[in-house]
């Protein structure tokens, strides 16, 4: 498969893509339908609001506890995985992570890699990288497979091909796989199954992500419905798991609440078809399973988020996707418009640490701060508060100390700062404020009918004849 040309790694023109997406009726319809479906599925899994809230609080505590001892847990994880025969690698950047994967690939003279679903591998653009080194990477998750076939990127972290409807997949299969056009979903899935089956055992290496890395037992836990994750981690002789450094939990039992929150929040399932706990390569007396298991722990900006206790909460994320399913912005523009691997609310708060604020400067503004994301997040990440904080980092003077983030001050503008300072002066001086109110009401006829972005979709607001200050003073007297 060739490189993905249509979504650049650096989201330079978010507004442009958002504009196009908003005007794409088919896309709007696909997303609205899909999001409504996923919201209803989730709601049905949490009939008891009290249980939900207590479980979210518990999920938050479990994740926060893990982060509060993250370096220790990572070392315990490493020690226990090593004891179990898993090789652990560390990478600060995606380049380092890709180089590690490539080394393993080269050591085995591997030509064919089969992948289970892994957002971290998307973060690394692993397919692109390995293809550049003559190694074929094939996605095996049905959604990822479809997206790869169409030379696209995932538009959702859980449902990668959610932007397409059955007809669009049918056309794609017809064009690329040269099969008869059919919109029958069962048939389409069987075509996918048949195409990929042989690939599983031809592959030299299987790559997967990780949902939870368990320090106590040195285990990697993966959830999935299709079985491709189990295939990718079992059939090829070598398994490479890639994950972010935040994915570790302390004890095996900690996965119980997180698993329940994850599957119910993500797809509205009580549990996924498979929960696959891997604690080592094939033993001498075993007849299958990989001979080698590797874990690549990737930082890629996470340690920057970790350095600030407010931003650190970003790393609670268990990648359930509920925040995007409930996001009115994501529902309108879909995943591709973000131009980032992680779209939606979680993408807006995590990507600035990965790519820097320069490259993601519009993302924190692309929210009405309605709070739908924070309300459903199973680990209670205060996403709106973090978005607000990122806006603050965005407009701080670039050189101001302390420096929390790469790309601080990317939206810094003297003019805008002066405007807000003037706003402050106006609103801290009662006399000025009242004068302003008088002027605005008396001169409201001067407000032009076209005031930029507002009047594209609305009439210009008209100040009333007199302010409440005046009306209240007449009625109540000076107070």
């Amino acid at each position: 498969m060739s490189a993905h040309a249509d979504t650049p790694a650096i989201p330079i023109s978010f507004k442009r893509r958002a504009h196009d997406a908003v005007h794409d009726a088919q896309l709007r319809k696909n997303f609205r339908g899909a999001m409504d479906f996923l919201m209803a599925k989730r709601a049905a899994q949490f009939p008891d609001g009290d249980e939900l809230e207590r479980l979210r609080a518990f999920g938050n505590r479990v994740r926060a506890r893990a982060l509060s001892k993250l370096p220790d847990l990572l070392q315990r994880l490493e020690a226990n995985l090593t004891r179990n025969g898993v090789k652990v690698h560390w990478a600060e950047t995606v380049d380092e992570a890709n180089a590690i994967v490539h080394q393993i690939v080269a050591a085995h003279e591997a030509k064919q890699v089969i992948k289970g679903k892994s957002m971290v591998s998307e973060e690394m653009e692993m397919n692109h990288y390995l293809e550049g080194h003559g190694v074929d990477c094939l996605e095996s998750d049905m959604g990822e497979f479809i997206v790869q076939l169409g030379n696209e990127k995932p538009s959702h972290i859980i449902m990668p091909a959610i932007h397409l409807n059955a007809g669009q997949v049918a056309s794609l299969f017809h064009d690329k796989l040269e099969v008869d056009y059919t919109e029958d979903v069962d048939r389409l899935i069987q075509i996918g199954r048949e195409t990929l089956r042989r690939k599983f055992f031809e592959a030299d290496i299987g790559v997967s992500g990780v949902n939870f890395a368990i320090a106590e037992t040195g285990s990697l836990l993966l959830v999935e419905n299709e079985g491709n994750g189990r295939m990718s981690t079992t059939v090829p002789p070598v398994h490479i798991a890639v994950t972010g450094i935040e994915k570790v939990v302390e004890n095996l039992r900690d996965v119980v609440p997180l698993l329940s929150l994850l599957t119910r929040s993500a797809t509205g399932q009580p549990i996924t078809t498979y929960v696959n706990v891997i604690s080592g390569p094939r033993k001498a007396d075993e007849l299958d399973g990989p001979q080698e298991v590797h874990l690549v722990l990737l930082d890629n900006g996470r340690s920057q988020a970790f350095a600030d206790s407010e931003l650190r909460q970003t790393l609670n994320c268990i990648r359930c996707g509920a925040c995007m399913n409930h996001c009115p912005v994501y529902t309108r523009i879909g995943g591709h418009a973000y131009g980032t691997v992680y779209p939606g609310p979680i993408g807006k708060i995590v990507t600035p640490h990965m790519l820097g604020l320069e490259a993601t400067r519009d993302l924190p503004s692309a929210s009405s701060l309605c709070g739908a994301c924070g309300e459903v997040c199973p680990v209670k990440i205060p996403i709106p508060a973090i978005l607000r904080r990122l806006r603050e980092e965005n407009v701080r003077p670039p050189a101001a100390e302390p420096h929390h983030m790469r790309g601080q001050g990317s939206k810094y503008s003297r003019r805008e700062r002066y405007t807000w300072k003037a706003w402050r002066t106006l609103n801290t001086s009662p006399r000025l404020y009242r004068l302003f109110g008088l002027a605005a009401t008396r001169l409201s006829g001067l407000i032009p009918a076209d005031i930029g972005p507002w009047t594209e979709h609305r009439s210009a607001p008209k100040p009333a004849a007199r302010t409440l200050h005046e009306l209240a003073r007449d009625h109540l007297g000076e107070d």
Binding site: V22, S68, S368, A440, H469
Partner: protein
């Protein structure tokens, strides 16, 4: 964040989510006097709604004080990332409420600013923080105050009407105002509240969001107005002036006759009060 398990003293300590908030305790007695914080949008664009709020409170036998020094709660700067500017504007409002009377706010998101965000603004000024916490404890959104503190009994004098209620997102999520609004409307015998499609979804206002992201915000307000218009309602009410500005602007642009009205004006008019609640 306050929790027995985190080391509160260290700012670098890993944060836990705040403990689950229990139901708010309301005073047993209706107070004799209250402050009204009018909010900046209402001041300029919906002053009649502010007057209607005052009349509703007065009808409950409460004396209303409107500090003339008030301006804005600071939210526009706060949500835009201009925290210092927001803090100074917030500080100016803090000085206005010297008596311990309740502060009633006819706009959910501004009430939420007092109740939830001032504490963040002043988290490292202990003396101000105490003042802020005291203010938060006596701040009420108007519908909440009428319902839970005044225990108002509304007597509907109007003819049968279908009403759709829009609640701003921050009001819904930080203040639970949709419950209060619904409950007040349900006291009106001739008023049938009708649901609208995706009722809990944002109207697309979001303060500066609507001008920074006009395409997305425009798509949101078009969907919201379509849902409201499609609900078969004769009237639209809301207790949030930002949303009203947005929704009414869109209705007008689309040349629809429907307009949103502030809940205070609607309630006053339905119960025989004289409202000058001209729809803006």
């Amino acid at each position: 964040m306050s929790s027995p398990h985190s080391s509160v003293a260290t700012p670098q300590a890993t944060r836990l989510a705040p403990p689950l908030a229990g139901a708010r305790n309301y005073p047993a007695q209706k107070p004799a006097e209250v402050y009204l914080f009018g909010t900046c949008v209402l001041d300029l664009f919906f002053p009649e709604a502010g007057m209607d709020a005052i009349r509703l409170l007065e009808r409950e036998g409460i004396r209303v004080h409107f500090p003339q020094g008030q301006s804005c709660c600071g939210q526009p700067a706060y949500t835009s990332g201009y925290t210092d500017e927001a803090r100074e504007v917030a500080r100016a409002q803090l000085a206005l409420f010297s008596h311990d009377w309740p502060v009633v706010v006819p706009s959910g998101s501004c009430a939420g600013m007092f109740r939830h965000h001032y504490a963040e603004l002043f988290h490292d000024e202990p003396a101000t923080l105490r003042q802020v916490e005291a203010l938060a404890a006596r701040t009420y959104e108007l519908a909440e105050f009428l319902l839970e503190v005044c225990r108002i009994q509304l007597d509907d004098r109007g003819s049968p009407i279908k009403v759709a209620l829009h609640t701003s997102c921050s009001a819904r999520r930080e203040m639970g105002t949709h419950v209060h609004g619904r409950s007040l409307l349900s006291q009106l015998g001739q008023v049938e509240r009708v649901d609208h499609d995706h009722e809990s979804e944002c109207c697309g206002f979001g303060g500066t969001f609507c001008v920074r992201m006009p395409d997305i915000s425009g798509a949101m307000v078009r969907d919201k107005t379509a849902a409201l218009a499609g609900a078969g309602a004769d009237a639209v009410v809301s207790a949030d002036c930002g949303c009203l500005l947005n929704i009414n602007g869109a209705f007008e642009k689309q040349q629809q006759s429907l307009r949103g009205e502030h809940l205070a004006s609607f309630l006053l008019r339905r119960t025989g009060g004289k409202s000058d609640g001209v729809q803006s």
